[in-house]
C-alpha cells in the first residue's frame, strides 16, 4: 500500500484489531510505544513479536510522547498506543510536540462513552477530544470497525507527511464493552 492509500480492504479473516499494526507499518512506523490496553492487545502482541518493530512498554503515557519525539529526532517514525484514561497524563508533554513541531501519532481506545460500567472512566473519556485539541493535536475518530484502518492511514499521512499532530480515537462502541463477570 502506498503512503497515500487510505482505503485498505478488510480481508474477511482480518479484524480491525489486526489492522492497526499493519496500517502503521505500511506508513513506515517502526517504533511502537504503549501502555497495556485490552483494545490494543493484538497490536501490542504483534509489535512485540515483530523483528522490524521496536516495542517500548511505558510506565505512563507521557513517556511515550517523549520517546516518540526522540525516535523521530533519530529518524524513526513512531506511534503511541493508549487508552482515553491516559490522555490527561500527556498534557504538558504535548508542549514538546507543539513547540518543536514534531510529527505525532497516537491511537486511543475510548472508554467512558458507550455502555460503560465504570464511572471512573467517564470524566477523562468525555474530556479526551477537548484535551487533545487544547494542546494542538488534531482529533480523528473511527466509529465503526471499517473506519479504523482508513482513519489511522489518514492520520499517519497527516502526521508524517504534513507534520500535523494527530490522535485517532477508536470509539468504545467499536471496541465493545468490558465484560465484568467471570
Amino acid at each position: 500500500m502506498s503512503d497515500h492509500d487510505i482505503s485498505p480492504s478488510l480481508a474477511p479473516e482480518e479484524t480491525w484489531q489486526d489492522q492497526v499494526l499493519n496500517v502503521l507499518k505500511d506508513h513506515g512506523v517502526s517504533l511502537i510505544s504503549y501502555v497495556p490496553d485490552a483494545g490494543h492487545a493484538a497490536a501490542i502482541r504483534g509489535a512485540i513479536a515483530d523483528p522490524d518493530i521496536e516495542a517500548v512498554s511505558l510506565t505512563t503515557e507521557e513517556e511515550g510522547i517523549a520517546v516518540n519525539a526522540g525516535a523521530w529526532l533519530g529518524g524513526r517514525r513512531a506511534a503511541l498506543l493508549m487508552q482515553s484514561s491516559g490522555v490527561g497524563n500527556c498534557i504538558n508533554m504535548l508542549s514538546l510536540i507543539q513547540i518543536c513541531r514534531f510529527p505525532f501519532l497516537t491511537i486511543v481506545t475510548m472508554r467512558g462513552e458507550w455502555n460503560e460500567f465504570n464511572p471512573w472512566q467517564v470524566p477523562m473519556g468525555a474530556s479526551t477530544p477537548a484535551a487533545f485539541e487544547l494542546m494542538g493535536v488534531r482529533v480523528l475518530r473511527a466509529d465503526s470497525a471499517d473506519d479504523v484502518a482508513p482513519t489511522i492511514a489518514s492520520a499517519a499521512n497527516l502526521a508524517f507527511l504534513a507534520s500535523i499532530p494527530c490522535a485517532v480515537l477508536i470509539s468504545q462502541r467499536v471496541i465493545g464493552s468490558k465484560v465484568w463477570t467471570k
Binding site: 513517556e63 517523549a66 526522540g70 529526532l73 533519530g74 504538558n92 508533554m93 518543536c100
Partner: protein, 200 residues
C-alpha cells in the same frame, strides 16, 4: 573550582559538564530544562544539542527514543535531580531496552535551582542511582571527583555495553545563565540535519 575553594568535595557544575562533554565526538546531547540546559550551552553550542526548555520529566525518555533510532550514535542525557525525579518511571522503561549507546547523567545539587532553591527529594534521602539500579539499570555510578568524571566522559562519548546512569554530585552554588536557542523547531531541525535527515 568553587567546590574545592569551599572545602567541599563537590564538583562545580560548569567544570563538570565541560569535562563530561569533552569526549563527546559525535554524541547527541539532550539537556533537561533549567540549569542543565544552561550548562550544556555553556560547554559549547553544537548542532547535536537538543536543549529542553520545558517537557519536564521527559529528558531521559527523549534520549531513549534517539538511542533506539540511532544505535551507533552515543546519546548523552544531561539533566538535573528535579527533572529526573519527575520521570522516575523512565528508569524502568529504559532498563527494558537497555540501549548500549545511552548515558543518563543526573547533575544532583539536591535543589530546585530554577525556582528558588527549594530542597529536592535527594536532599532528604532519595537516591536516584539506587532507584535506577532497582529498576534494573546495571551500570549505575555516583561521580564525586574529576577522576570519576574522566571515566564517565569516555564511556558516555562511546557506545558501551549497556545503558549507564550516573549521578554527579555537584556544588549547589549558582552559575550565570547561558541561554541557548529557545526555538524548539530550529534545534530539532539542526539535530536532524546533523544526522542527514530532512526537517520534516
Amino acid at each position: 573550582m568553587k567546590g574545592m575553594e569551599m572545602g567541599s568535595a563537590l564538583l562545580e557544575r560548569r567544570d563538570a559538564v565541560v569535562r563530561l562533554l569533552s569526549e563527546r565526538s559525535g554524541a547527541i546531547v539532550v539537556s533537561g530544562l533549567g540549569s542543565a540546559t544552561y550548562d550544556v550551552a555553556a560547554a559549547g553550542d553544537n548542532d547535536r544539542n537538543f536543549y529542553l526548555w520545558g517537557a519536564m520529566g521527559g529528558a531521559a525518555m527523549i534520549g531513549l527514543g534517539i538511542a533506539l533510532a540511532q544505535p551507533d550514535v552515543p546519546v548523552i542525557v544531561v539533566t538535573g535531580d528535579g527533572e529526573m525525579l519527575m520521570g522516575l518511571g523512565g528508569f524502568a522503561t529504559i532498563s527494558q531496552k537497555n540501549p548500549a549507546n545511552l548515558t543518563v547523567v543526573v547533575l544532583d545539587n539536591e535543589l530546585y535551582g530554577e525556582t528558588g532553591e527549594q530542597h529536592s527529594h535527594t536532599s532528604k534521602g532519595a537516591d536516584l542511582g539506587a532507584v535506577a539500579a532497582a529498576c534494573g539499570i546495571r551500570d549505575v555510578r555516583t561521580v564525586r571527583s574529576f577522576d570519576e568524571l574522566a571515566v564517565l566522559a569516555a564511556r558516555s562519548g562511546s557506545v558501551g555495553e549497556a545503558t549507564t546512569v550516573a549521578v554527579v554530585k555537584i556544588d549547589p552554588g549558582e552559575t550565570p545563565r547561558v541561554l541557548p536557542s529557545r526555538d524548539g523547531a530550529l534545534i530539532k531541525t539542526k539535530v536532524r540535519a546533523s544526522l542527514g535527515l530532512d526537517s520534516m
